[in-house]
Amino acid sequence: MAQLASISSTLLYIAFLLYLVATVFFAGSIKSKKHTNQTGKNRWATIGITITLIGFASQLGYFFTRWIASGHAPVSNLFEFITFFAMMLVAAFIIIYFIYRLHILGVFALPIALLTIAYASMFPRDVSPLIPALQSDWLAIHVSTVAAGEAILSVSFVAGLIFLLKDIDLSKGGKQVFWLESVLFGIILVVGFVLSATVFSVAGYESEFTFINADEAETVVQYSMPALVTPNEGELITEGAFSTGLEMHPLVNASRLNTVIWSIGVGIILYLLIRLISRRKVAALFQPLVKKANLDMLDEVGYRSVLIGFPVFTLGGLIFAMIWAQIAWTRFWGWDPKEVWALITFLFYAAFLHLRLSRGWEGNRSAWLAVIGFVIIMFNLVAVNLIIAGLHSYA
């Protein structure tokens, strides 16, 4: 079983590399001069999608071998769930790709999947047993449907982002330019997190503090990055480790805040470096890639993804969720933060559809809504688990 678990990890690693290679080929496909509308047959794109399919198969291999090794669907902690979300993102991309043959989608969807897997890998990766509340077939049914729904909805973000990169005139400045650049900066922050976490983990950095928590009990906390902020009445107990001694309020999870500060710091440095070297806005760096993109088609892909993803999300995130909550927690709805954020996601996309269907919000506005929707999904995926305590905080 342990061997199977290690095979599983290798398969995920292979999938990661293949997605990376596939991205390069998709990038090649949109450079090709022959295919100005960036759809239809194209040798680069054919190779790209083939590698993507092999990568996806490899990730499926990861998923099922891990399932066999652990005896339960590997969607039970943050690493497993986010990895699965990335897999569904690739699946959603593949489906939409075969409907519209829009090559440029691969240039953006695959890197986002890559970044998601990298992000997931920063959480504890070991196979953990299921607590009683999770011991149900509904774990696989509910979580996989939610992840699939969210992933399909995320494709609309990818399409929306490409749309905006082409649509917004960077030379004019203004709010839209600012927000577009902010979205890209947000993505760079994730890179900053992955980078700093990886560097300190490879360097083997670790320190421990004892501190007094919000319930006034003494506890020990581990830091995986040098402590820029320390917990309430925190005492460093690891010799030779770094600490600024800057104490935080007991309600603040200082260890996580420390990680956030490092990520933002590294993210800002990365961003500034890119700006300094290229002497252009990050959004401007992507513009050559989207020059030939077809706005109409991107708009429809974005809308279509919402139409496909919304029912899947509703089914998994609300209906299956309620059925399982009734079985496991005695009530179908209990205003747990994760539940509330699933409702918020649902309401947001409901508003999206109403605005689009009845008020003609197409193109630019629709693209922005897709971006906001993705921010909400990411918030629910990550922040609700890490910041807001609730029944779903498993990781």
Binding site: D126, P132, E300, I327, T330, A351, H354
Partner: protein
Amino acid sequence: MSKLICKCGHVNPEGSELCQACGRTLTEKAAKRKTNDVMRYEGMARRSQTYHASVIDKVWNFFSSVKVGVWLIVITLVASAIGTIFPQEFFIPQNIPAIEYYEDRYGIAGKIYYVLGFHDLYGSWWYMLLVAAIGTSIIIASLDRGIPLYKALKKQRVERHDSFLKRQRIYSAYEAKGSLDTLNRLSEGLKKRRYKVRVENGSLLAEKNQFSRWGPYINHTGLIIFLIGAMLRFVPGMYVDEMLWIREGETQIIPGTDQEYLLKNEGFTLETYQEGDSEVFDETIQRTGAIAKNFQTDAILYKKDENAIAGSTDNITEVDHHAIQVNVPMKFDQFALYQTDYIEDELYKMSFTMDSKETGEPVGSFTVDLFDPNTSGVYELNDGYAVEISGYYPDFSGFDDGEPQSVSPLPNNPAFLFNMISPEHPDGEVAFVAIQQNLEPLGENDYEISFNGIETRDISGLTVRKDLTLWILALGGAIFMFGVIVGSYWNHRRIWIKTDADSHLYAAGHTNKNWYGLKKDIAPAFEYAGLDQPDDHQELKESKGNAKEEDESGTTREHK
């Protein structure tokens, strides 16, 4: 009521934008609106767009507006999000007043949160009002649109006026192609694509998946049923939420069942994963410590016989016997029992010995059931020795005026006043015994009581739930889901073809969404008929983000 009479002679109700017969635009205003907006409800008269005078009109118009609906959704969304900033009142410890909890823990922000009522946001009157407003909006907006749409789609004419065709996003005029043969070929091609085709007077109407237009109205119906189900929660008798704390070995009446059912706790089990259970888990267990594997109450369910006395546990019949686990509730009648909590190792029995101080040897031993101490009789030991309990203080807290006090009936810190009877002292000697405390209040004794062991047991916390609204919610949810799928995964597509005496052929197409799909769908039919693909007249302009799309809308697009 003024009617709108079209040039074709058809009489349309007031408020119509397009003639229901021929499709001509009827008003200046309609002519100026975007085709998509006019076509959304087939140019039909809608109550909300027609009447504005009375109060009822105004209320109707307010709730029928999608803009209002979207605002209601957005306000609910933002409010819901605010409710997750700090935990809601029902998640915080119940032993301190909420106001203190929020203020102590979250400072001034917590106090503001409490004062504004966000600590009980989802149960607040204004949140309920928001949900009610959304419900009203759903009903009125659906009626306002659904009924006219139904009427329009049920009686469509095949032949439409040229201006109607020209307005469509998919439109082309073909010279010298208007033959019967072309029309037949188009008809054949579209039928192959499963269009329902009607041909009249050289005109053709092909339509498919009209049912997908009903998706929104179906899902709105489901939502309303769901909301009604959620309201029924407050009808007495529909909903039971009780907690049953039951000790191992105990039999108790299940609250909420009208004393009809009883439960016996045969034993509570808590299991944790052990290292070596499965080698793949070892690393996690080493990292995080013990992980719970199972919470389980082995339970026997009894039903009271019809003529049994209320409150008694006699005359009962076993109905069911199995383990209640997390995710595996015990279901009976309309109830379900869930494993939701436990307390481990509550004191149950205490054993003592009565010792002679002189020899240090015990003269006998006895065991006190802390829940049922023998306070009226005596614990008979051997050879004329016996112990009486003359005072029992299950939750001993100290002395008040020389009297021992108990703060609760639970044996958290049991203390006893024993009377030790021996052949030498037939009236007994008095000893006060508590945990790590031995007093002789009436002078030096010859005998003493010493502690000889405890027996503990676990308490299962079971939630008793009855929810008669579930089936309505399930029905509403299923209808909603069905409607969403119907509306999302299918598209309503229509093609109009018209030929005239000068053998012109006009082709127009409309879909409620997914225009690429429409174009792909009809391409083979046009190819088969020897026609070029009809043009798509809406390519999104490069709006450069700053331009508002509404501004670039033309009424009738220019065609060559």
